[in-house]
């Protein structure tokens, strides 16, 4: 029964902000175990299911999930200011319902009412403060680029406004908090927002491989394709920088997806445009194939995205990380089962979380029969040094391009020629791998570059080529 006790502790820890069961909850736990003669964790599942059902209606759970959403969007977790705090400080008092921005109220509504998760991205109905209160506190143009905060009590003063059919209104993407957090400039032209769209919707994290120091500066230089002196000269002379970065070969990998989606964000560049801005949804599907779909506007972009398997897989990944853990190891078969369940439950977050905490993966942290290959453990330790510039090596953030990522690594390390003309990491980088680091990577590749699940990503011919042996 130790495992059942640990499971109960973990449920509390994950869903109720790390606080452990109270003495009375333990009393209920032991009573159930005795009444049902439970000897293992499986016997306790109905108890856990019932407990979680009650937890998901608590303020603590709702606060936990709303904070998770805030963090997903790289937003500072926000609770409305305390009444005594007149300076807009974020003291942690009051329930989430006192959060006043359109973003906050939409998220709160989805969490509190257990609405389908896709409403986060698709909803065209928002709640705002009563107009009289809005006027008093200076909140104009509620979901556009207003800088107003909803200070003051919200009880009984909320109104619901529908923007049905508006081409540039789509869930959180059209709200103040998102638009101000990821600002638009002539240079990025909606790409910053589109990058978040891909990261959050498809778990496709497009990071430029640039050393963090002076990143902003280097990004600007790449963007215009000029030296630092020329860049300064352009601005001094009032010249307009020409964006050449997106056409460079390595950069096209991301920009062929990023730019067409960014076009649809033009509709929210300055307030809410009444006219649509068309674009494309370009993405790699679950088979690693590039797909392109024309979309008429921002809302259509999201409608198209939420219909894809990539979207569902990614949202399930978010929940797995939040509930089971960031280090959870889920087999591909079980992942498909999770996705099916997510769909069957109409993407309702509380219901899906209830399901997740009763799975064996929640109790053990991984699917049955999985063992991370020791060679991957060693190789991963080396690759962590690469992740300062790159994304989630060795598999990359896009799981459907993992094999391509690995083959690129093999090439950049010049593994077929025994690392003789290695190009990575750059000679100017502070870290340089030792020989044993390179051997650890070679060993892992020789085993077929297996994933945590043991599934090899490279076939025998790929392995031979990587090791410099004729296939």
């Amino acid at each position: 029964m130790i495992q059942a006790q640990k499971a109960f502790i973990k449920i509390h820890h994950r869903l109720l902000w790390g606080n452990l069961p109270s003495p009375s909850e333990w009393t209920d736990f032991f009573k159930y175990a005795k009444d049902h003669d439970c000897k293992d964790v499986e016997c306790m599942i109905p108890f856990f299911d019932n407990a979680v059902k009650s937890y998901t209606s608590t303020d603590t759970f709702r606060t936990w999930l709303t904070v998770k959403v805030d963090e997903l969007f790289y937003l500072k977790p926000q609770v409305a200011p305390n009444e005594s705090d007149q300076n807009g400080g974020t003291s942690v008092n009051g329930s989430p319902k006192l959060r006043g921005e359109a973003f906050d109220l939409l998220v709160d509504s989805i969490v509190s009412d257990n609405r389908p998760w896709k409403d986060l991205y698709l909803s065209q109905t928002y709640q705002f403060l009563d107009p009289n209160v809005r006027q008093k506190w200076g909140v104009e143009n509620p979901i556009g680029l207003s800088l107003g905060h909803a200070l003051g009590p919200a009880n009984g003063s909320l109104v619901t406004v529908s923007y049905d059919g508006h081409p540039n209104v789509s869930g959180v993407w059209s709200t103040n908090r998102f638009l101000l957090r990821f600002w638009d400039t002539e240079l990025n032209s909606g790409r910053k927002r589109a990058a978040q769209f891909f990261r959050i919707m498809f778990c496709d994290d497009m990071k430029p491989s640039i050393e963090r120091k002076n990143q902003d500066q280097l990004e600007n230089l790449l963007a215009v394709g000029v030296t630092q002196e020329q860049f300064q000269g352009l601005h001094q002379n009032g010249g307009q920088p020409i964006n050449r970065h997106a056409s460079q070969a390595d950069c096209r990998m991301c920009h062929q997806r990023l730019d067409p989606a960014a076009w649809t964000f033009r509709g929210v560049r300055v307030g809410l445009a009444s006219k649509p801005s068309s674009g494309q949804l370009v993405y790699y599907d679950v088979d690693g194939q590039l797909q392109k779909q024309d979309v008429a506007n921002l809302h259509a972009l999201n409608e198209a995205a939420t219909a894809t398997e990539r979207y569902k897989s990614c949202q399930v990944d978010h929940f797995i990380q939040w509930v089971i853990g960031y280090d959870a190891l889920i087999s591909q078969k079980r992942k498909y089962e999770f996705i099916e369940k997510f769909e069957a439950l109409e993407e309702r977050p509380a219901d899906f979380i209830r399901y997740l905490v009763t799975t064996p993966e929640f109790f053990t942290g991984q699917s049955a029969g999985l063992v991370t290959p020791p060679s991957l453990v060693k190789a991963r330790g080396v690759f962590q040094n690469c992740n300062e510039c790159h994304s989630s090596f060795p598999f990359g953030k896009n799981p459907y391009l993992a094999k391509d990522t690995i083959l690129k690594i093999v090439s950049k390390l010049d593994m077929p020629h025994n690392f003789k003309n290695r190009k990575m990491p750059p000679a100017t980088h502070w870290w340089s791998p030792e020989q044993e680091d390179l051997e650890a990577i070679r060993q892992w590749v020789s085993e077929g570059a297996p994933r945590d699940t043991g599934e090899p990503l490279l076939n025998q011919d790929d392995v031979k080529t990587s090791l410099g042996v004729a296939p």
């Binding site: 130790i2 495992q3 006790q5 640990k6 502790i9 973990k10 820890h13 994950r14 109720l16 902000w17 790390g18 606080n19 452990l20 069961p21 003495p23 333990w26 032991f30 603590t60 606060t63 904070v67 963090e71 969007f73 790289y74 937003l75 500072k76 977790p77 807009g88 400080g89 974020t90 003291s91 942690v92 008092n93 101000l180 957090r181 990380q321 853990g325 960031y326 280090d327 453990v377 060693k378 991963r380 330790g381 080396v382 962590q384 040094n385 300062e388 502070w430 870290w431 340089s432 030792e434 680091d437």
Partner: protein, 237 residues
């Protein structure tokens, strides 16, 4: 106690970390942002834990319930007015702040301001009669209506060993649960997070009492130190 708690806490971090990279630079943090952030939400963490452990406490420590210029670099955030996300990793001394704030909040919960709300909530339904039993042996003339205050301000040297064990057990029970679950919570047994590992529940009580006693003058301090110690020890889940 505070240094031992920090040692315990950093040991927990390193146990759960992915394999640390070989680094030639102090710029590279050994803990991934996601992995640390999953366990430490920052200021919210402190407040939500205190809300669960107490019915009422006085938030007079500004740095413990909001991001301020003083604590934001430690917590890993950015000032509210800057409106930027918490993208940087929680600061190296976050646990220091966490322990300080938890202790601060729990002390105020058992202080004059909130004692009546918290006494039985923390020490159990029969806490008052337990306190009477302890105090009457020390001061038979103690008034019933001041029992809670007298109990909490009693010097540790006046409390018998067995009573101290019971106070410690009640404190641990409030934070973690009854002694039947201490092993599952990682406090007892060969796999315990505390080193050297207390093998039995009695061993745990001895360990905790020894540590808490050294930094406590009175019963209030003792209860608070015990609760903070086990709270930090069970952060690893």
């Amino acid at each position: 106690m505070s240094s031992l708690i920090l040692l315990l806490a950093f040991s927990l971090q390193s146990q759960a970390m992915p394999m640390a990279p070989v680094s030639h630079s102090s710029n590279v943090q050994k803990t991934s942002f996601d992995e640390t952030n999953q366990r430490f939400h920052g200021i919210f963490d402190i407040t939500m834990h205190l809300r669960a452990l107490t019915k009422k406490y006085y938030e007079y420590s500004d740095e413990c319930n909001r991001l301020t210029e003083k604590n934001f670099a430690t917590v890993g955030g950015v000032l509210p007015t800057a409106e930027k996300a918490i993208e940087s990793q929680p600061g190296a001394f976050y646990l220091d702040l966490y322990v300080y704030c938890l202790r601060d909040g729990l002390s105020s919960a058992l202080g004059d301001y909130a004692m009546s709300e918290n006494f039985s909530f923390i020490l159990g339904e029969d806490a008052v009669s337990f306190a009477k039993r302890v105090i009457k042996t020390i001061n038979p003339f103690a008034a019933d209506f001041t029992i809670e205050k007298e109990f909490l301000s009693t010097s540790l040297s006046s409390v018998e060993e067995q009573e101290l064990r019971e106070i410690a057990e009640r404190s641990i029970t409030h934070v973690v649960g009854p002694r039947e679950v201490w092993q599952a919570a990682g406090l007892v047994g060969e796999a315990a997070v505390i080193r050297p590992a207390p093998i039995t529940e009695e061993d745990l009580l001895s360990t905790v009492i020894k540590q808490a006693r050294s930094e406590s003058k009175n019963v209030r301090d003792f209860i608070v130190n015990v609760m903070v110690y086990v709270r930090v020890a069970t952060l690893r889940f």
